[in-house]
């Protein structure tokens, strides 16, 4: 890993007190939310947290590295189903999911190991899929990863004896709460932040800005791309697991192209490569959709949430193509590249990827 020493340096010199302070404030807020808020409000906050995990982890590959992947829902599905099957009450497994191997059918895990297993399964899938798929660039990569969603959906739909197919898994134990979700938000933010601000992050950004130049200074593109993709998939798997145990209901159609679109919108709104930007956009969009949903129902205008989101996206892309914060972080402008639109001299952005016909 190119970023080894740089990352350790940052870890040693990172303001640990600030981090601990933030964690304490966060814990106080969650305790407050758990005591005073209604279940609906807590669910909205839970969704916001899961969306933060998704958007921040996607920023790592899509924003920083310039790998335009739409595959997050595929990894969410894998993580969600893995975790759901692991936590499912053992008594009901034998009748509802007859295809499970013996050792899974008889065991019943708690949330943390199930979530970790979900993340690992998603990461392994990303490792396998990444080898062929990451050789593609730009549009082709985007559509190939869209294909991953379709492929995982079709597989889950057809493995009835393990996944109950299109009916989906209902009646999952409601294990996710704000503590678990925000614990994972903190882990996601910590890991991606440290990596972004290490030399690893710079190497990833150099791949985004100019692949040829980056290769010529010795950046190991293939390995780093795969790393960014797998890391994102791990957190997507975790988010899928948390989602399944918040909604307590899982079908292959829960995660599709619209989900991919919503996560990508968060990344684009926040700015390509801005973790805080992605997190803020995730919060904003979660709140907008949860507030708009009752309105949608009241005036019988289904599709309103997506209309609002799509319009917002188009408007931002037209008037502020670099997103809210560009590639920087609002709190640490010094440390990161300034939030200006990508330079015009880089071929990657002007059109025509090196491997495409012209």
């Amino acid at each position: 890993m190119t970023g080894g020493t740089g990352m350790m340096d940052r870890l040693r010199h990172s303001p640990a007190t600030l981090g601990i302070g933030l964690l304490l404030i966060g814990a106080a807020l969650i305790a407050g939310a758990e005591t005073w808020l209604t279940p609906f409000e807590r669910t909205v906050i839970g969704f916001a947290g899961i969306n933060i995990i998704l958007a921040v982890s996607l920023t790592f590959s899509n924003g920083l590295t310039g790998l335009f992947s739409l595959g997050h829902p595929a990894f969410m599905m894998l993580g969600g189903y893995t975790a759901a099957i692991l936590t499912f009450p053992a008594m009901r497994k034998s009748t509802m999911l007859p295809g499970l191997p013996e050792f899974i059918a008889t065991s019943e895990l708690s949330l943390l190991p199930a979530t970790l297993a979900g993340g690992v399964v998603a990461a392994v899938a990303a490792l396998i899929a990444g080898f062929p798929v990451l050789r593609l660039r730009g549009h082709y990569l985007a559509v190939a990863t869209l294909g991953l969603i379709v492929i995982v959906q079709v597989l889950i739909n057809n493995m009835d004896s393990i996944t109950r197919g299109a009916i989906g898994l209902a009646g999952l134990p409601r294990l996710s709460n704000l503590w678990w979700i925000y614990g994972w938000v903190a882990v996601t933010l910590f890991v991606t932040w440290q990596l972004k601000h290490a030399s690893l992050g710079r190497a990833l950004m150099s791949i985004r800005e100019n692949e040829l130049a980056s290769a010529s200074i010795g950046v190991r593109r293939a390995r780093l791309k795969l790393f960014a993709f797998v890391l994102g998939a791990f957190f997507a798997g975790v988010a899928g697991a948390l989602w399944a145990h918040l909604v307590t209901n899982l079908t292959p159609n829960s995660f599709g192209i619209v989900t991919a679109f919503m996560i990508v919108v968060m990344v684009v709104l926040g700015g390509s490569g801005s973790l805080i930007g992605a997190a803020l956009a995730a919060i904003a969009l979660s709140v907008i959709s949860e507030v708009a949903r009752p309105i949608e129902r009241a005036i019988d205008a289904y599709g309103l949430v997506q209309i609002v989101t799509a319009t917002l996206l188009i408007a931002v892309l037209l008037f502020r193509p670099q997103g809210l914060f560009g590639s920087g972080e609002p709190v640490t402008r010094r440390m990161t590249t300034p939030g200006k639109p990508p330079s015009k001299t880089s071929h990657e952005h002007r059109g025509g990827f090196p491997n495409e016909t012209s």
């Binding site: 335009f68 062929p132 798929v133 050789r135 593609l136 730009g138 549009h139 082709y140 985007a142 559509v143 190939a144 869209l146 294909g147 991953l148 379709v150 492929i151 079709v154 597989l155 739909n157 057809n158 040829l212 192209i257 619209v258 679109f261 990508v264 919108v265 684009v268 205008a301 289904y302 599709g303 309103l304 997506q306 209309i307 989101t309 799509a310 319009t311 996206l313 188009i314 892309l317 037209l318 193509p321 639109p341 990508p342 015009k344 071929h347 990657e348 952005h349 002007r350 059109g351 025509g352 990827f353 090196p354 491997n355 495409e356 016909t357 012209s358």
Partner: protein, 297 residues
Amino acid sequence: MSAYVLQQLINGLVLGSMYALVAVGFSMIYSIVRLINFAHGDVAMIGAFSTFLVFAAAGLPLWVIVPATLAVGAAVAAVIEFLVFRPQRQAPQVNGFITSLGVSILIQNVGILLLSAQPRSVRLPGLLRTNHDFFGARVTTLDILIVAATLISLLVLTLFVKRTRLGIAMRATSENVSAAQLMGIPVNRVITAAFAVGGSLAGLAGLMWGGRYGQIDPLMGFVPGLKAFVAAVIGGVGSLAGAALGGYLLGMAEIMIVGMLPSEYGSYRDAFVFGLLILVLLVMPNGLLGKPAEERA
């Protein structure tokens, strides 16, 4: 050859024709502005709705409906280009791509809002639904018309691109936008025209799709649009002949998966289509008829 196999071949030919029409438009737009237009399939949906909800309901005769649908497709695509893609021409390439995904989702949901997500059944005049016996296989007049109209459209399009001034301007623009501009080609107008031509083909495909399957809904365009993209990539993006060939290959392959393999594999159809895409991109990144890659610094 048994009648069953022949029937499958015919079905594949018909489905492939519709994919080919959409794929050719896709490829044309891509070769000129390097944009994968997710909204292209939704233009086909708008074409289908205007055909069956407006023109057919108004009792227009068929020889008016077809050109009217072509015009609607062209107008919708040109308006989208003018409103959202033109202002972004200098922006990073992925922006256009994300925007098109946004436009697609916007159109689908406005469609659901105005027309409801419920599929509507539509009926063509009985004349088109007449069955003919073709060596034991069943062919409707509509099937014949779909294949014929596709082939004629492809022929006209080829002549248009090769012979007319506008077509030559399009090819020049797809080679190099700034050079074309320096030669006095009104690049903006040429790009809008390319969108319009692609849109009219998509509109025609939507008309065929609705007529063939007997129902239309606001989400009907997305998946066929995506598959048409897969077809365009298989054939070689940027090559019109390649896109048409890819469309026919994909249509055939899809029907064969459903019709020839044991039925439990039929539901794996879409996984197969995208698996094929990934495979083709890896083995032949330029598709069957695409130009060889060129490494630029």
